[in-house]
């Protein structure tokens, strides 16, 4: 069953002249050159202020191979991910545009994917999307016309076969997009998580970005299963990491965030980071926490680099983009290589 699913699709009878790259994106070329990839993340503002994007992008430039742009993250309305992506393209930082199944039906998705490609966007991350009850319009209808796995397949068929989901031909060929998908090794049921990844691979994902990894032993077990099934050879897996900002954030993520496992050890380290710092010295506590958060993140990346089957890291430091550079430098991943065109 699994072998069948994972077998490569039979070659078309008259193959188009082989494109060297599917999308030609920097991320794709970086992965093709077997460099350990680094992606970052930018959360667009709840406004139409393009400078917010530009400033965040400037903090990531030179530190990451591509930067994800979240799509109404946590179901809160923000500046559009594709518009933000276009701003990044103009600035010279490569975007990975995130797209959820929550807000668009298949018509809107395909239309926006064509639009994204027309604007020079070359990477898309296909997501289910957080439920709208967590966001600022809890009374909204959700769409979920198709799910994230169906979306991956749809984008792949658009790109590789030049077909819309309905089977109609896309004039001028499909949009050159590198297809990403998410994986959460820490959600339940654990046994299904690797199989769900396998489905995303079978559907056509080129790369995977995981949920934030804090529980290394569970992630190691997950990656072992991934490697046992050979999935790491079919898809480039980037482990999600992110610096903790404070002991309170560590506790919140441990206790409140769905699908997140933060071991007590990290919470204890964050709490201990302000030992001896006066409670009233807010600035010193903030700095002590942040320094420890960055230290932990660097240690994690160093550990992940040694883990079999990983092709890179995805660093999520939303609203703390300044942390990206010290993390990338501290992990020995700076400067970023320049892959051949």
């Amino acid at each position: 069953m699994m072998d069948q699913l994972l077998a490569p699709a039979p070659a078309a009878q008259a193959p188009a002249p082989a494109r060297r790259f599917k999308s030609g994106s920097n991320l794709e070329r970086m992965l093709a050159a077997s460099h350990f990839a680094v992606t970052g993340e930018i959360g667009p503002p709840k406004s139409h202020d393009a400078d917010v994007i530009r400033k965040k992008a400037a903090l990531l430039e030179g530190c990451v191979d591509a930067a994800n742009i979240t799509d109404n993250q946590t179901a809160v309305v923000r500046l559009s991910s594709i518009a933000s992506g276009a701003i990044l393209v103009a600035q010279g930082l490569e975007p990975v545009v995130q797209m959820t199944c929550r807000d668009r039906n298949r018509l809107a998705m395909q239309s926006d994917l064509l639009g994204a490609a027309a604007l020079g966007i070359r990477n898309v991350l296909c997501l289910t999307g957080d439920h709208q009850s967590h966001g600022n319009h809890p009374g909204a209808k959700n769409v979920h016309d198709i799910d994230s796995i169906q979306m991956v397949r749809m984008v792949k068929e658009m790109r590789d076969e030049g077909l819309f989901q309905c089977g109609e031909e896309i004039s001028g060929g499909g949009p050159p997009l590198l297809i990403g998908a998410a994986a959460n090794p820490f959600a339940d049921p654990f046994e299904l998580r690797v199989h769900r990844l396998a489905k995303k691979v079978a559907a056509g994902a080129d790369f995977i970005q995981t949920q934030l990894v804090f529980d290394m032993s569970r992630f190691r077990e997950y990656m072992k299963r991934v490697v046992d099934l050979g999935l790491h050879e079919k898809v480039a897996i980037l482990a999600g990491v992110g610096p903790l900002k404070s002991a309170g954030m560590a506790r919140h993520m441990r206790d409140k965030v769905p699908g997140m496992v933060v071991p007590d050890g990290y919470v204890a380290r964050m709490e201990a980071a302000v030992d001896g710092v006066a409670a009233e010295d807010k600035q010193a506590r903030r700095e002590a926490w942040r320094a420890e958060g960055i230290r932990i993140c660097i240690e994690q990346i160093r550990e992940l680099r040694e883990m079999e089957g990983l092709r890179g890291v995805h660093i999520m430091a939303i609203e703390w983009e300044e942390a990206i550079r010290p993390i990338v430098e501290g992990a020995g991943l700076f400067p970023r290589p320049v892959p051949e065109a």
Binding site: M1, M2, L5, C101, R102, R106, T128, G129, D130, H131, S133, H134, N142, H144, D145, I146, D147, S148, I149, Q150, R153, M154, Q165, A182, A183, N184, A187, D188, P189, E191, L192, H195, R196, A198, K199, A202, A203, Q211, P258, G259
Partner: protein, 228 residues
């Protein structure tokens, strides 16, 4: 069954503002079984409305009746007699009942006393849960008898999503993750490998998205009068 619940009294008194003589009509089928619109609930609601209006200094007369099945014209036809004396009908039927009354008595104001909520079942005394959205293309054969359309908050066909934790849904920690249930059920039946198959995008035209739905059974239709 169709499960409904009564609207708050304040909403009903606002809806009935200005009416003096109302006929409250219950239904003897689904809403009786879910304790929302049977003989007993009609009696209690009618009393509550009379009291509320008396306290407001705007007394209202509320007559009570319950038909066996509000969603079929034959059962509500007898209400025609004596209907003139009422200036509104307050239906304690489901949304179908309300509309059947409104179609049969188009000159009469017909108002809903219930919020019709879902097709479901009682899971314990006093608790009802949704099980079906009538999407028009049943997939229970591939999901182990557990419906992802009505029970997954994202209607995933290739779940579970990344928000499933400890067997519960990210939307509500009291709601089981439908895909966890599906996986457990298929695993128990030795069919878990079926979850590896990618389910293609659904054709939602059989659902609400295709517009109002209609079933025509020619084998059951009566011949046109001229052919008789």
């Amino acid at each position: 069954m169709i499960v409904a619940k009564q609207k708050p009294l304040s909403e009903l008194t606002a809806m009935l503002d200005g009416y003096r003589n109302v006929l409250a009509v219950g239904c003897g089928t689904c809403v009786t079984v879910c304790f929302a619109g049977g003989v007993k609930e009609v009696g209690i609601l009618a009393s509550a409305l009379r009291m509320a209006r008396r306290l407001d200094g705007q007394p209202m007369s509320v007559a009570e009746t319950t038909v066996q099945r509000q969603c079929e014209a034959e059962y509500i036809a007898p209400l025609a007699e004596g209907l003139d004396e009422f200036d509104a009908i307050l239906s304690l039927g489901c949304g179908v009942g309300v509309q059947t009354l409104a179609e049969r008595f188009p000159d009469k104001r017909v108002l809903p006393a219930l919020d019709t909520t879902f097709m479901g079942l009682p899971t314990e005394q006093g608790v009802w849960e949704e099980r079906c959205q009538g999407c028009g293309h049943c997939v229970l054969d591939i999901t182990g008898g557990i419906c992802p359309v009505s029970r997954c908050a994202k209607q995933l066909m290739n779940g579970p999503c990344g928000g499933s934790q400890g067997g519960m849904c990210e939307v509500d920690s009291d709601t089981p993750c439908a895909w966890q249930l599906i996986w457990e059920r298929l695993d128990r039946q030795g069919l878990a490998d079926r979850l590896l198959e990618i389910q293609p995008p659904r054709d939602w035209s059989t659902s609400r998205d295709g517009g109002p739905r209609r079933i025509v059974r020619d084998d059951l239709r009566l011949p046109p009068p001229e052919d008789v």
